[in-house]
């Protein structure tokens, strides 16, 4: 489904990105001069031990956090120093997040949960139709009016995926998205992620500890001490 590499557009680009945290009197370098180019339609997994900087990198390319130094480009726009209000625009329109713990609203039905990202701007009938279509596509046609408490873990994660897709963002970011699921359900969720990449051309970046999950990706990166290991496929330095 992908275009050839020469026609593909750069989706995310990190140039010499570093992130430093201050934890009491200690300074922690979560990201250390990371350079990374992700093309539209890429399917990337990032593995690494705890504290290696995976989630920090995901936050920065997901417009949730600012780097301490370096520059970040999203769909060609430099988002490095954008204020929170403008970053929200990118999160709403360019990125769909899927979290390990789902983070669904317990009082809302599956359908309403899918619609939450667009609620502030008013839910139109076509949004509702799209939400229903997404839930149906993810095998939840008969669960649209169920609340999260009435759904299994796998169903909840599928609702979370539908929520991430409601604004039709080109990029899907997943942080340990199978972390709270058994291995069979985890594989089912990853089948969906595979489809999002292969059938719908979504750019996928997932952070995981699970080798089986990481193996699904076409590009497998490893991180250690805030750096991406050299030699990984499709990693573009500088």
């Amino acid at each position: 489904m992908h275009n050839s590499d020469s026609e593909r557009k750069v989706e995310i680009k990190c140039e010499n990105v570093s992130k430093v945290y201050k934890l009491g009197s200690n300074i922690v370098k979560a990201l250390d001069n990371v350079n990374l180019t992700i093309m539209r339609g890429d399917y990337i997994s990032i593995m690494g031990p705890s504290g290696s900087g995976k989630t920090t990198l995901l936050n920065i390319i997901g417009a949730l956090d600012h780097p301490t130094s370096g520059r970040v480009f999203l769909d060609g726009y430099d988002i490095t120093d954008l204020p929170e209000r403008k970053l929200t625009f990118f999160r709403r329109n360019k990125i769909g997040f899927v979290f390990q713990a789902f983070y669904l609203i317990p009082t809302l039905t599956a359908l309403d949960n899918v619609l939450t990202p667009i609620m502030p701007r008013g839910v139109k009938p076509e949004d509702r139709t799209r939400a229903l279509m997404l839930l149906e596509m993810l095998g939840l046609k008969n669960r649209v009016n169920h609340k999260p408490g009435e759904l299994s873990g796998g169903e909840r994660q599928r609702v979370a995926i539908a929520r991430a897709l409601i604004s039709d963002p080109p990029i899907i970011l997943g942080d340990e998205l199978t972390g709270e699921l058994d291995s069979k359900t985890g594989q089912e969720i990853m089948d969906i992620i595979d489809r999002l990449n292969s059938e719908f051309g979504k750019t996928i970046v997932i952070v995981t500890h699970d080798t089986k999950v990481a193996e699904r990706a076409k590009i497998k990166l490893k991180m250690r001490d805030g750096r991406i290991n050299k030699g990984d496929v499709f990693l573009k330095e500088g």
């Binding site: 936050n59 939450t116 502030p120």
Partner: protein, 378 residues
């Protein structure tokens, strides 16, 4: 978004219920006080409208029931231009029953009183008195004292003579001051005023042909008084209304003070409820922000939730206020209408104010949630 706020406003039912109770207490107090205040102001205004053409002439430096004036000496006043009608009255303070009620017994000429629009022109049940052993009282007075037409009032004169007066009719007046008066003939009233001759009265009530002329009339009366050496003073209704306005102003300050206290108490309950709700749902707000909600969206959502809870509390409080006012109206036989536009407006503004004030800090706190904390698994 409102739908979202509705679904979440009552998520923790016990906390929501407690804050609703807090707000309801505040609003019920507000309803009762605002209604009382509005009723008094309304009655004062109505009374003022009806009496702006009224002028009272009485003995200088005396109260209405200690004043003595000689009508013959005031003849030149009664024929002044712009005076439409006048009624001279004899006013005495009497004792009813075992002495806990001391109304004024007012003697008057029915024709003269009717011409100035006095109580005899507002008989709503029965008839006006015709004989010396008859009287009329107000409907409110009759309900308060549990009296009806045909009942007798037993009154003792200052020289200990028993006078029985039969109630022949009930009048209605918008004035709280005249609600407790007993009206009878001049002859009967003079029995209670030792030393009052046939041309001696307590007050002379004058009705001007136009409210615009009352100051001119006062000026002319004062000139006559000076020329003829009369020991009288002229009181315009607008002078009296100033005193009444001062009283109603004091009541309004009391209402505002109690409302403020109630508002702070209700506001605190909603702050606590919303704060607990927000702290419990910080991860949700972080997720919503990660999925595209702006800070202003989070603030709006919490303010909506706060307003929804306060609106419910306000409605419950208004209901309690209505019940309370109904009980007060029934017990004291007074009309208290809480559905006046001013009362409704005050309560709506009060509830909106409380909802916004109570929600603003929790909203601010939630809007500052960092979505990064969620992805870190915090």
């Amino acid at each position: 978004m409102l739908r979202y706020a509705f679904k979440n406003a009552f998520r923790r039912k016990n906390i929501a219920a407690l804050s609703i109770i807090g707000i309801a207490i505040g609003v019920s107090l507000m309803t009762a006080m605002a209604s009382l205040s509005a009723t008094i102001t309304d009655q004062t205004n109505k009374f003022a409208q009806q009496n702006l053409d009224s002028i009272t002439v009485q003995q200088k430096g005396q109260l209405i029931f200690t004043s003595q004036i000689n009508l013959t000496q005031l003849y030149n006043i009664t024929v002044l231009e712009h005076i439409e009608a006048y009624s001279a009255q004899v006013v005495a303070v009497v004792q009813l029953g075992i002495g806990f009620v001391n109304p004024q017994l007012v003697g008057l000429n029915v024709n003269n009183d009717t011409s100035i629009g006095g109580p005899t022109s507002n008989i709503i049940e029965g008839r006006v008195f015709q004989y010396e052993n008859e009287c009329i009282i107000s409907r409110m007075g009759a309900e308060f004292l549990n009296l009806k037409i045909g009942d007798n009032l037993s009154l003792y004169t200052p020289d200990s003579k028993l006078v029985n007066l039969t109630i022949t009719g009930l009048y209605e007046t918008s004035s709280i001051i005249t609600q407790m008066n007993i009206y009878t003939t001049l002859t009967t009233a003079r029995l209670f005023k030792l030393g009052f001759a046939n041309d001696t009265y307590s007050v002379l009530l004058i009705k001007a042909d136009d409210p615009a002329n009352v100051n001119q009339i006062r000026s002319e009366i004062e000139n006559i008084s000076e020329e003829e050496g009369l020991n009288i003073e002229v009181i315009l209704f607008e002078d009296q209304i100033q005193t009444i306005t001062q009283y109603t102003g004091t009541i309004n300050i009391l209402v505002i003070s109690i409302s403020l206290i109630a508002g702070v108490a209700g506001g605190m309950s909603i702050v606590v409820a919303m704060l607990m709700s927000v702290i419990e749902r910080l991860k949700e707000y972080a997720t919503l922000k990660a999925t595209g909600w702006q800070n202003t969206d989070v603030i709006k959502d919490i303010l909506y939730e706060s307003l929804i809870v306060t609106a419910v509390g306000g409605a419950v409080g208004f209901g309690i206020g209505l019940l309370y006012l109904g009980a007060v109206s029934a017990f004291f036989n007074i009309i208290l209408n809480p559905l006046q536009p001013i009362v409704i407006t005050q309560i709506i503004l009060f509830v909106i104010g409380m909802g916004l004030a109570g929600g603003i800090y929790p909203a601010y706190k939630a809007s500052k949630v960092s979505p990064v904390e969620i992805l870190r698994g915090a």
